[in-house]
Symmetry: C2
Subunit: 368 residues, 2 copies
Amino acid sequence: MTANTKQREVIIVGAGVIGLSIAHVLTSDPSASYKITVVARDLPDQHMDSQAWASPWAGANWSPIGDREDRRYKWEAETFKRLWDMIPTGLTMALPTKAFYGDEVSPESIWYQDIPRDFHFLPKDDLPPNMKTGVAFTTVSLAPQAYLPWLQSELKSKGVNFICKKIDSLEDALVFGGSGCILINATGLGARSLLGVEDLEMFPIRGQTILVHAPNLRESLEIASDLHPQTSTGDATYIIPRPGNTVLLGGTFQQGNWDVSLSMSTAGRILSQSCALAPVLKSPDTRILAHNVGLRPARRGGARVEVEWVEFPLKGELNIRREAEVKAEIRKVMVIHAYGFGPAGYQCSWGVAEEVQQMLRAGMGAKS
Amino acid sequence: MTANTKQREVIIVGAGVIGLSIAHVLTSDPSASYKITVVARDLPDQHMDSQAWASPWAGANWSPIGDREDRRYKWEAETFKRLWDMIPTGLTMALPTKAFYGDEVSPESIWYQDIPRDFHFLPKDDLPPNMKTGVAFTTVSLAPQAYLPWLQSELKSKGVNFICKKIDSLEDALVFGGSGCILINATGLGARSLLGVEDLEMFPIRGQTILVHAPNLRESLEIASDLHPQTSTGDATYIIPRPGNTVLLGGTFQQGNWDVSLSMSTAGRILSQSCALAPVLKSPDTRILAHNVGLRPARRGGARVEVEWVEFPLKGELNIRREAEVKAEIRKVMVIHAYGFGPAGYQCSWGVAEEVQQMLRAGMGAKS
């Protein structure tokens, strides 16, 4: 039996789109066998209304965000392909999209044109007032309310074990594994609080949205220049039809704002800007279904996807101490971090999961 | 059959300590019969780790907070009696307490001395460094992790119906009741976001705490001058032993701060100040069990406990619209608001519940 065919124990912390996608890729690995446990405060089958969890509140579509980053480009290109291939299942859908810019944008500066399908520039005459550049493409969208429970149920059918528990420390996760287990940290904004990680580069980007029933709107429209975490004024305008005849109207990109209460003035602004961009929303068929706020798990310096060998028991007076652990032997554990994707979690998910899988394979050869 | 013996339908929004205590008082009313439904985003049997819900993160003890307010004094005095009477059940426990002030405090300015048991002043020699006044009394404490599930299970056994749903509007709650139903709004911080209420006086007071196992510490110690929402610097020091051999170390009173991530520097400060106040915590038997953050549902102007007759369907372009409701007849519904207790939710709970019961009885005689 080679090292690769031996079953390895993996504990994934976090059941958002990143944690679940990683679990899915690992369960589908033909060259290795993993015993996987997902430990999370919030799970798709119970906590889709948790306001401390980002994944339920996403759009979610592939959408151009910010400037090109090579690593993210790769994750997004891979994820797009996979989400596109899922269209026949009904979990994702093809979505014709128009994205507008308030400035003149040169064709070569549109870094993302190879990712979606049917990319082309729009004639100037077809642009909304005050917009100087417009592009069109076909992307994919999904509804987290269906997608996350589907992922969880697939994983359950493949033997993945789910444990619902708020953990405060990487050490809390180790309790669920044996001596050779590997940890995957997909805790999003939680990475800021998790002892053993305590990543102060993590911060929320507050997103407020309105979910509507709008059966006549099947096209996505967005002001692409708003979709930039660094340069956004805080306000953004985007309209995302998803499978199931719902449309998400957004939004905000408020950096460092943890407020999960609704701002009615923001909701009013979103509604009026959305109606201006898509007048079909003024139809009496449009019905507001929900007002939502979510906190995107952003990170200064970009997402963290890397291996760290962490020594346990953790040191420091603030650590969770259990009687058993006070006497525990010192050991080093492979921790793969995968968090901090901000507004791009869904559109990076499969690409990140594949990179984590490669890290895991490579790391299993290393000394543990 | 008189109006009072006819069964009335009551929808309670919110399953925190306020909503559940109201339900409990109503199910125990000998002179009236209610069909009660509790609708809440978070329920004790599923969501005790929800960071948007205040009740799980409380101390919780009766403790002197801020200045005297006549209405709150009455609620607290009634609640204290009831929690004291529950001691034999094990859900609450008698808790010897010492409270210290950094200033000279005159006996007559201690407004709360009639509420707890055995109140007396401490000799100056028994005070910690820098403290000028000390008082001692016996109060009660409880652990929300046991108390809230107990309340819910009592209510279930009495036929109360629980519905797990995040609602965005008072109208969403009406769906669960018939034409003559009464609404009780116990949504805490949610009252800021709930359409039809939209109470902008609501704000969070962030509380960070450490839960420890400390079997040798059975006395509560607190710097009473910190326990003042208006004058607190943001930092507070309090130590609350609860049933089940756990002790809560606090804390913070950070007004308007929605950040539910842990501050490790705050945790360090809480631990060192707690150890200074109670050196027994330095024992090797002390083990940190959890680091927690909760948002106390505070309200400028004080808690809101009052009746409002609200006209439905609600007006305004942001309202949730359902096909059925677009055509709904105009009607007025009695709404009893009970929210905004800040750090004093548990210690007001039974008194508020009794006042709500009286409002309900009085209101049922009014035109509906």
